[in-house]
């Protein structure tokens, strides 16, 4: 009933707008806002239910002692003060930063190289598609696949290494190798996808800029540093922001391979949070760790956007 009675309203409003010229813009603005809200509404539900409420609750829990069974008790800043004296927290931050540095460093350089190859050389859709294949395999499967191939005693990689007469390598088992190995596995999985993003950015660079450069006799290296990189910057920044944040949150590969070991050599921050929450039932402490990670990631994203001018283009 209500819908039927309300239906004639918008046309009536419409005729009013047509009457005078000045209120038209206001009327249309409000009408757009309503319409916009209708379209945003479904996404807002998802945002509020799955992001906003859990985030606020997580921040609340970080000030409590909470074991999931039972009620949280407010303990103020105690979780935060103990985190700063927690050796394992600082260790996990160091390990995570090491991982991010190796992972992002190699991934970005390799992806850029692949994107250039896709742009200039490999024009076949098949080859371009094949680059994306590792990304289509689930993270856990990729991790397990490499876990078995790199196994010390039975893995095929170590079999090949020992045929060549070199000593076997405990890829996941030794403290020196664990993080580089995990980083390499994830580079392998993500480089094709990252390359695809950069490739899209390369295609957006107008061809005539290159033509002018070649008329001026610029060398390929000079063209790359003088034209490709500056014009690619907004895309590169976006890619970096997204991959760095993703990289900080590495968890699944660690969880199914080393589970934080050997000793604490691959206990990345997400692994430590998981351990505190789900194996030691210390959800308050884990929430406080998560809040700290959240703040760090927000800062990293902000700095990258600010200093690399990710929201401006040199094309204008």
């Amino acid at each position: 009933m209500t819908t039927i009675t309300k239906l004639p309203d918008p046309p009536a409003g419409g005729t009013k707008k047509a009457g005078t010229s000045a209120p038209v813009r206001n009327g249309r603005g409000i009408g757009d806002l309503k319409m916009a809200l209708v379209f945003i509404f479904p996404a807002m539900i998802g945002f509020v239910v799955f992001f906003l409420i859990p985030t606020i609750r997580g921040i609340y829990l970080s000030f409590t002692e909470y074991s999931i069974l039972g009620d949280p008790t407010w303990i103020g800043l105690e979780n935060y003060t103990s985190i700063f004296t927690d050796e394992l927290f600082w260790n996990s931050m160091a390990v995570t930063v090491q991982y991010v540095a190796i992972n992002i460093g190699f991934q970005t350089v390799i992806a850029l190289g692949l994107a250039l190859l896709m742009h200039r050389v490999a024009k076949s859709t098949f080859i371009r598609g094949a680059l994306l294949l590792p990304f289509l395999v689930a993270n856990v499967i990729v991790a397990l696949l490499w876990f078995w191939m790199l196994d010390y005693q039975l893995g095929i990689v170590n079999e090949i290494i020992s045929w060549t007469g070199l000593p076997r390598i405990a890829f996941f088992g030794s403290e020196q190798w664990a993080i580089p190995t995990i980083a390499a596995v994830n580079v392998w999985r993500h480089m094709g996808y990252t390359a695809l993003l950069i490739f899209a950015g390369l295609q957006a660079i107008p061809q005539h800029v290159y033509e002018v450069a070649s008329l001026d006799g610029a060398s390929p290296a000079r063209t790359f540093w003088g034209i490709t990189i500056p014009l690619l910057r907004p895309v590169l920044v976006l890619v970096l922001v997204v991959t760095v944040i993703g990289s900080f949150q590495v968890f699944d590969t660690v969880a199914v391979t080393t589970a934080g070991g050997p000793i604490n050599a691959s206990r990345v921050i997400q692994m430590y949070i998981y351990q505190k929450a789900f194996t030691e039932s210390d959800f308050g402490y884990a929430s406080a760790l998560s809040v700290i990670l959240f703040v760090i990631l927000a800062l990293v994203a902000f700095i990258q956007m600010k200093f690399l001018k990710g929201n401006e283009s040199d094309l204008d």
């Binding site: 069974l69 078995w148 405990a170 996941f172 088992g173 403290e175 070991g261 050997p262 000793i263 604490n264």
Partner: protein, 446 residues
């Protein structure tokens, strides 16, 4: 959400006490509907499915839905179920986990059931029922099975080394030179050039077959790794068991055991810890990379099923006083406090812990049931399959078992002890560094 759990739990408790007041006969009138039952070991699923079918045949009003989940999933899903109100009515419980569940009031005490249905607790192997009584005297589980530790060995590698199986069954050990146990392990180790571990020119950096396999550092309990050695010296994990309040990782007896054990890796007789991340210790044994593995009786099925490997089982070595030792661990079935069907759940748990079900489990030859007569049947069922399990049962017969350490904070103890033990075993720190870890552990109980 939490309130509703409390309400359900309260209702369940009331319902149970009411049914209990009415005596055992009227209780059965309410016992109907479907109950959910969880376990983690896929090898045991067929046995318990048959128990469930038999149970429903005898009690047509009660249906039992059996669900199996892998070990890691099992505990997170269970905890989430407690919070969300979807946990199973009855589930297989572990000694390392149940103290916390009991403290958090997630388990239904079974004292009334034991009293009213006049359950005989003497039918179980000695000690198993006591494991499930908390400090306040409440019983939270009825025992279903037990396990001990033994040496699995590769018959061919033993014969190649000139050892007889009889010799392997009579090894002795001490923390100073490792006794005949270390001699056997050394002799069974073979390097790439075919030199044995106790021969001159043995290349410890290129070992083809290790004398002893390594699973992991064993964390805080060392159930299958070192506890059967340290216990022969009279060492115990805690000041008392169950419900110890102080751990003894600073004891020289413990530290010299660990020092001897990690020394095997330096000598090349056992793989280095860093090489154990990956394929399981049992799979490496199956691939012929180790001659001896120490493992629990729940692994019998896996160790005897590797193609091309003939596996024998020997008891753990005797200690300096001539006695063996093995950790004695037992599982039990517990009822979730939030069950909507406590009467039927109690009935099912009673059936699970009865000879009717445990004989079925015994006949499948997968584990040793908790009831003494049923575990004898299981030993016979293993023998019928051609597997001699006396290495495991001898500990029970000679009463050389000691109980799995039951204490609060077990997850946190593991969180401290695993990295600490890893550090010692990988040679990063001396065994004396475990005293510091011990301080951290004991601080949890202050």
């Amino acid at each position: 959400m939490k309130k509703s759990i409390g309400a359900v739990a309260a209702a369940a408790a009331i319902a149970l006490s009411l049914s209990a007041c009415g005596g055992s006969a009227p209780a059965s009138t309410e016992a109907k509907g479907e109950i959910n039952y969880w376990l983690w070991d896929a090898n045991q699923l067929p046995a318990y499915q048959q128990c469930a079918d038999d149970f429903t045949k005898a009690n047509p009003d009660i249906k039992v839905k059996v669900t199996q989940r892998g070990w890691d999933d099992y505990w997170t899903t269970l905890t989430n179920g407690f919070v969300a109100g979807t946990a199973p009515d009855v589930f297989t419980n572990h000694l390392a986990k149940y103290p916390e569940f009991a403290t958090k009031k997630q388990l239904l005490a079974l004292d009334d059931a034991v009293k009213n249905d006049k359950l005989d607790l003497e039918i179980y192997n000695k000690g198993l029922t006591d494991l499930w009584v908390t400090e306040d005297g409440k019983r939270y589980g009825l025992p279903k099975d037990w396990d001990t530790i033994a040496l699995f060995y590769n018959k061919k590698l033993i014969a190649d080394a000139g050892y007889t199986e009889e010799q392997l069954k009579g090894l002795d050990w001490n923390p100073q030179d490792g006794g005949s146990y270390e001699k056997a392990i050394a002799h069974l180790t073979v390097d790439k050039n075919g030199k044995r571990g106790d021969e001159a020119g043995f290349d410890k950096n290129n070992v083809a077959v290790y004398g002893l396999g390594l699973e992991n550092s064993g964390g805080g309990d060392g159930q299958t790794q070192w506890s059967f050695l340290s216990a022969t010296l009279g060492w115990t994990h805690t000041d008392k068991n169950p419900w110890g309040k102080e751990f003894n990782y600073d004891d020289p007896k413990f530290q010299e055991t660990i020092a001897w054990w990690s020394g095997l890796a330096d000598k090349g007789y056992m793989p280095k810890l860093e090489t154990t991340v990956g394929a399981s210790v049992a799979d490496n044994f199956g691939a012929g990379k180790a001659a001896i593995n120490t493992n629990g009786s729940w692994m019998i099925g896996q160790y005897t099923s590797y193609k091309g490997v003939e596996t024998g089982i020997a008891p753990t070595p005797k200690g300096p006083d001539g006695k063996r030792a093995s950790m004695f661990n037992g599982l039990a079935d517990s009822i979730w406090a939030g069950t909507k069907n406590p009467a039927a759940s109690v009935k099912w748990v009673e059936y699970l812990s009865s000879t009717a079900c445990q004989d079925v489990v015994a006949s499948k030859a997968v584990v040793f049931p908790a009831i003494s007569t049923s575990s004898e049947k299981a030993a016979k069922a293993f023998a019928d399959k051609g597997i001699d399990v006396s290495a495991f049962t001898t500990h029970v017969k000679d009463e050389t078992t000691f109980l799995f350490p039951i204490a609060d904070n077990s997850a946190k103890v593991t969180g401290i002890m695993k990295p600490a033990m890893d550090a010692v075993l990988s040679g990063k720190k001396p065994a004396s560094s475990l005293s510091q870890a011990n301080d951290q552990v004991n601080a949890l109980f202050k």
